[in-house]
Amino acid sequence: MPAKAKTYTARPASGARGRRGDSRAQAEARDRRRAISRAGGFRVTAIALLTFAFEAMGLLLACVREPGAVDAQALSVLALIAPLGLFTTLILPRALPMDALLMALTNFLCGVSIVVLYTVSTERGLRQAIFYVAGLAVMLAMSGIVSRVRRYKGLTLLSMALGIAALILPLAFGDWRYGAKNWVSLPLVGSFQPSEFVKLSVVLSLAYYFSAHRTVPQMLPAILFSAACLALLMLQRDLGTALIYYLTTLVMFYVACGNVPLTALGLCGGAAAAMMGYRMFAHVKVRVAMWRNPWSDPLGGGYQIIQALLAIGSGGLFGVGLGQGTPSQIPAYDNDFIFAVLCEQMGLVFGLLVLVTYLLLIARGASLIGRSRRSFEMLLGCGVLAMLGIQTFMIVGGVIKMIPLTGVTMPFMSYGGSSLISCLAMIGILHGIAARGQEDMEEAILSRS
């Protein structure tokens, strides 16, 4: 595999392609590319228009909610996000290395999040819309990097160093929030959660070391880095995020080398660590007890989960309506518990639809990385998808009381810049991988003729 990768590094960057003569093979490649984008065209347009309609109706409703007054802010949020959604889905993928279907699904999730947040708290909706715009910019930057950069060694080492530094920051300067010390305030940037961004470093370093080197000692630097991150997260008491890192590492290890005994060993080690964590941290014990029977302490430890269940139950199949109900009763309603708010307002059917959207997004991502020819990209994509999938499962499963609650955000939906921007950056990575897969295909057609 690595040998193959080297032959491709000699390729000129994509920009140089246009200056070459328009051979028949190139024309064929272009036609094929267009054929692919046309095949996805109808679905993409449908999703984009649905998203547009949802945002327009939701925010127009919010705009006239107060009788006799028009909320101009709702209109400005609508003017910001709705055209941007259409633009990034329908127009941008023609010019930039992007996948239109992936973009359409991402935009749908982000759009739902902004509308629901706006109806619950106008200020948060507005801020989320701004984070969304910033996140899209980061996404484009990431997709540009992944589709162009050929040598990752320097980038990986840099991101590892930055990652460790970023995780030490909150321990040194941060303050405790909800029983964890995982936030940090910086001048100019404002307050943010470094662990959200370090996810990218972890996936990158694991993909880099696991793709180039296949023996365990050679894979060690990445495993050590991941372990160091885990240790720092434990110190921050951010156990939910630690669990995501750990499971992602395990998934990537298994995908990279397929070594079942070692993966099982890692799984057992994690289970042992979880048992230890259960013994050591009082709040983990409370979480587990409240998962088993939240009704035992309905106004104390079980309050959060009970309020979430009450909200989901009150919504019924079709919900009480956007902006209706009393979502603010649920602690962290805009954040970890946004799924409960969604179910109360739009109903169980819509909640399940959102879950299906996550699955479609992951399935699309999997099909994109399946086309890539380099194990590095494949692993990078796997890591990103594992992270998104595991995180969604953990938080939604926690909110509906299927598994113990872990305080992690719901990708794309939860309020917060760190989470949204890092999730969109991951989508950017997938776009970049998709673009490279596309190039590889053209290359293959060219070389065949």
Partner: protein, 458 residues
């Protein structure tokens, strides 16, 4: 890997649907749901009446929640109806708030309200209980004692009265809350878990009839005690040699302890579970706490004690009434109902919650034999004080459940039974906390309750 993730999401979706479908209604009507309080501000809560239309709870012109004008009525039905503040967590005012507050109204009904300009009104709920029977039972209960009485129609499953003592006045919640220690806010009929004592012998008898051959030859010489394990099961009287029927009629503890040793705890546990022990009662009309029969490995001694309803066996008075219903119906179980009808604000009838059709809990022949033995209990055994005149035959079983090793603490008095008559299909369950002997204390209360139900022709 992807398949695994999809499977996890599939499980999550299924779990979410399952829990909302089965528990969603209970979440909504939970007293911790702030939406109920907020809905009360904007919706006129519907009226609650008894089976004859007597008003038990209503919303007055000023929007305040009021209860029956008659204080005795208010008290007698207090735990069934509940209170506007949700202090009684299982009351109709809380559990059926989704109807009363119009959560179940369709979009069209809400639109109709919006167009006519009337404030939205919740549904009116008519209950199966009789306010008159409830008052009568309250009056006939021993002064100052705590306990519960349930009267049901065993043909339909309707709850005709469900009285729990002490009671409270919903118009005067301050004093009810000030004296919370008394436990008036708990519905002892559905939330009180008591050792069923000798009334559990109905279950043990059923298990023996189902599982043991040649019971006709059963003969046990009662000498007042039966050694098992390190202890002895004792009996106040020496009954001498008796058949199984005689042992049941005299409620002989030692004979049943001996019988239990022929049964295994798997057999007895299986019969108990058929009859609803350890079952998560999910009735559509009311919340009933789960009764428990321990099915983990019982020692010979534990098995002996459990066969006479002592030890870790616990049951609610309502559940014991359901067991009487099952015997009365020839072994078919019935779901208890509390809602007679629901009327929408527009005058239409709302669909009642789904009820499980009865299932076979006991073979008909077994139920028939238990009925004969229970008739004998009232005719010539421990339950003679429950006998009715006018040709009404009563089948029943008494119980005196020991609750303390201290001799000075009186046992809980039980009576469980029913009228063997198609035109008066009434089942009853009486529990008097620390009442003493079931035959002396609980049986007369049961008789008066059944007599009144017959007189009222419910």
């Amino acid at each position: 890997m992807l398949t695994l993730l999809f499977a996890l999401f599939g499980v999550m979706t299924a779990y979410c649907c399952y829990s909302v479908f089965f528990y969603g209604g209970r979440w909504v009507s939970n007293p911790y749901n702030p939406r109920i309080t907020s809905q009360k501000q904007s919706v006129v809560m519907g009226t609650v009446t008894d089976r004859d239309g007597a008003v038990l709870a209503y919303t007055d012109a000023s929007g305040a929640r009021r209860y029956s004008d008659n204080r005795e009525t208010r008290m007698a039905v207090s735990q069934v109806v509940g209170d506007s503040g949700g202090q009684v967590s299982t009351g109709v005012e809380t559990f059926h708030a989704p109807y009363l507050l119009g959560f179940k109204s369709s979009v069209w009904e809400r639109l109709a309200d919006a167009f006519t300009g009337t404030p939205q009104r919740g549904d009116d709920v008519r209950l199966t209980i009789s306010e008159r029977l409830s008052r009568h039972i309250t009056e006939s209960f021993p002064e100052g004692k705590r306990g519960a009485v349930v009267v049901m129609n065993y043909k339909t499953g309707e709850i005709l009265a469900m009285v729990s003592l002490p009671q409270f006045d919903p118009e005067d919640m301050e004093s009810a809350l000030a004296d919370e220690e008394a436990g008036a806010l708990v519905n002892r009929a559905t939330q009180g878990l008591y050792p069923p004592g000798s009334t559990f012998k109905i279950v043990t008898l059923a298990s023996a009839l189902e599982n043991l051959p040649d019971l006709d030859d059963f003969a046990f010489n009662c000498t007042g005690y039966y050694p098992v394990g390190n202890y002895s099961v004792t009996e106040s009287a020496e009954h001498g040699v008796q058949s199984l029927k005689q042992a049941f009629v005299h409620s002989c503890n030692t004979a049943f302890a001996a019988l239990s040793q022929d049964l295994s705890y798997q057999m007895l546990g299986a019969t108990a579970e058929q009859l609803g022990f350890n079952e998560n009662f999910m009735f559509g009309d009311l919340i009933v706490y789960n009764s428990s029969y321990p099915i983990d490995d019982l020692s010979a001694e534990d098995l002996a004690w459990s066969s006479i309803g002592q030890g870790r066996v616990l049951a609610t008075p309502l559940h014991m009434a359901l067991i009487a219903c099952t015997v009365a119906r020839g072994g078919l179980s019935v779901e208890p109902t509390l809602l007679a009808s629901i009327t929408t604000a527009q005058g239409g009838a709302r669909k009642l919650p789904a009820r499980e059709p009865g299932s076979r809990a006991l073979p008909a022949a077994v139920a028939q034999e238990i009925e004969e033995d229970m008739i004998a209990v009232v005719k010539s055994g421990t339950g003679t004080r429950a006998a009715l005149g006018d040709g009404y035959v009563v089948a029943g079983k008494t119980g005196s459940a020991e609750v303390s090793d201290d001799e000075g603490v009186a046992a809980h008095a039980w009576f469980v039974g029913y009228v063997v008559n198609d035109n008066a299909p009434y089942a009853v369950s009486v529990l008097v906390e620390h009442g003493g002997s079931g035959g002396a204390v609980a049986a007369p209360i049961a008789r008066r309750a059944l007599q009144r139900a017959i007189n009222l022709g419910l």
